[in-house]
């Protein structure tokens, strides 16, 4: 059985009906949710840590570059960002951190419930992408799970398309880490 991305995402959305205790990242802390940009010494591998996370609406997400030898961005998938496809809720505000040098940070507040996909501009082709699921368990409106490839937008590089953890994983585990 071949599932479309929308179908897979919607299968995952059903999991949001799980009890709040099912996912450790439905955090109640008031501080920012930290996502770190990493790279190995020779620049052959780069990644967001965590690569997937589930948070409550209204939380601040903060990206910090901890890669001493490279610059990174946190850039939402949105037509306003270099004609990339819309992969955040349609009513959400797109963001682009621009290049962050080592130890620089960038923050956004994610208030609209849904699934947010983002990428690093110089490393999208190397698969440096991340996903944030924003919502209260069971409450994410289906129109905020975007997956279509609108006309006029750039296709996602293969490495990036394979870099997103599934919504199911994120909802079940709360935080997804890869190194």
């Amino acid at each position: 059985m071949i599932l479309s991305r929308r179908h897979v995402l919607w299968s995952g959305m059903a999991l949001l009906a799980l009890p709040r205790s099912a996912g450790p990242a439905w955090a109640d802390d008031e501080g920012p949710i930290d996502i770190v940009m990493h790279g190995n010494v020779d620049g052959s591998h780069v990644w967001f840590d965590p690569v997937g996370i589930a948070i409550l609406p209204g939380r601040t997400v903060r990206w910090t570059n901890r890669d001493p030898g490279n610059a990174h961005t946190a850039t939402s998938y949105h037509p306003d960002n270099f004609q990339h496809p819309l992969r955040i809720p349609k009513d959400a505000t797109p963001w682009n951190s621009d290049y962050l040098l080592p130890d620089e940070s960038f923050s956004v507040v994610l208030a609209v419930e849904g699934v947010y996909d983002y990428f690093c501009i110089p490393h999208e082709h190397a698969g440096m992408v991340g996903r944030i699921v924003v919502g209260r368990p069971g409450s994410i409106p289906k129109e905020n799970v975007s997956s279509a490839q609108p006309q006029g937008t750039k296709p996602i590089p293969e490495a990036a398309a394979h870099g997103f953890p599934s919504v199911e994983e994120i909802v079940q585990q709360g935080t997804i880490r890869r190194t």
């Binding site: 790279g39 010494v41 020779d42 620049g43 052959s44 591998h45 780069v46 001493p68 030898g69 490279n70 610059a71 621009d98 290049y99 040098l101 080592p102 501009i121 110089p122 490393h123 082709h125 190397a126 440096m128």
Partner: protein, 139 residues
């Protein structure tokens, strides 16, 4: 060989050599068209493992990039070759020069990308120093 022919040959050679052959590159900053990479794109001034880089913007993305240690001494010449180009049968990289002179050894490694060369590519590093001296740019 007549004197006239020798003079003509020398003049021809001078005209056809790469422009950077006459540039001072041993110490940073190099003379000629080279610009500091961190002033062209948003990158750290000193890249661990590579050093402080200079490049002639006209030669991007391949380079050559000149890499210097913390004391401004040349350690390597680097070419950055996009993987897309390396797998393109119609693309060639011929006559890549070594403006830094004698090459001690060569390292080739994959790089995921960075500002200036935003796609996965290969770093071809022509080291002008012995292997133990690579430590000069390690951090």
């Amino acid at each position: 060989m007549s004197l006239r022919f020798a003079t003509a040959a020398a003049a021809f050679a001078a005209l056809t050599l790469p422009a950077f052959a006459a540039d001072q590159v041993e110490k940073a900053p190099p003379s000629g068209p080279y610009k500091k990479v961190s002033e062209l794109v948003k990158l750290p001034d000193f890249l661990p493992g590579l050093g402080q880089l200079y490049v002639d913007p006209k030669t991007l993305p391949a380079g050559p990039f000149l890499a210097y240690d913390h004391n401004g001494r040349l350690v390597s010449t680097i070419y950055m070759l996009p993987l897309d180009d390396l797998s393109n049968k119609d693309k060639k990289f011929d006559d890549l020069a070594s403006p830094g002179g004698k090459v001690d050894h060569v390292s080739v490694s994959y790089n995921a990308g960075h500002p200036g060369v935003e796609k996965p590519h290969t770093h071809v590093v022509l080291w002008h120093v012995a292997k133990p001296e690579e430590a000069r740019v390690a951090k």
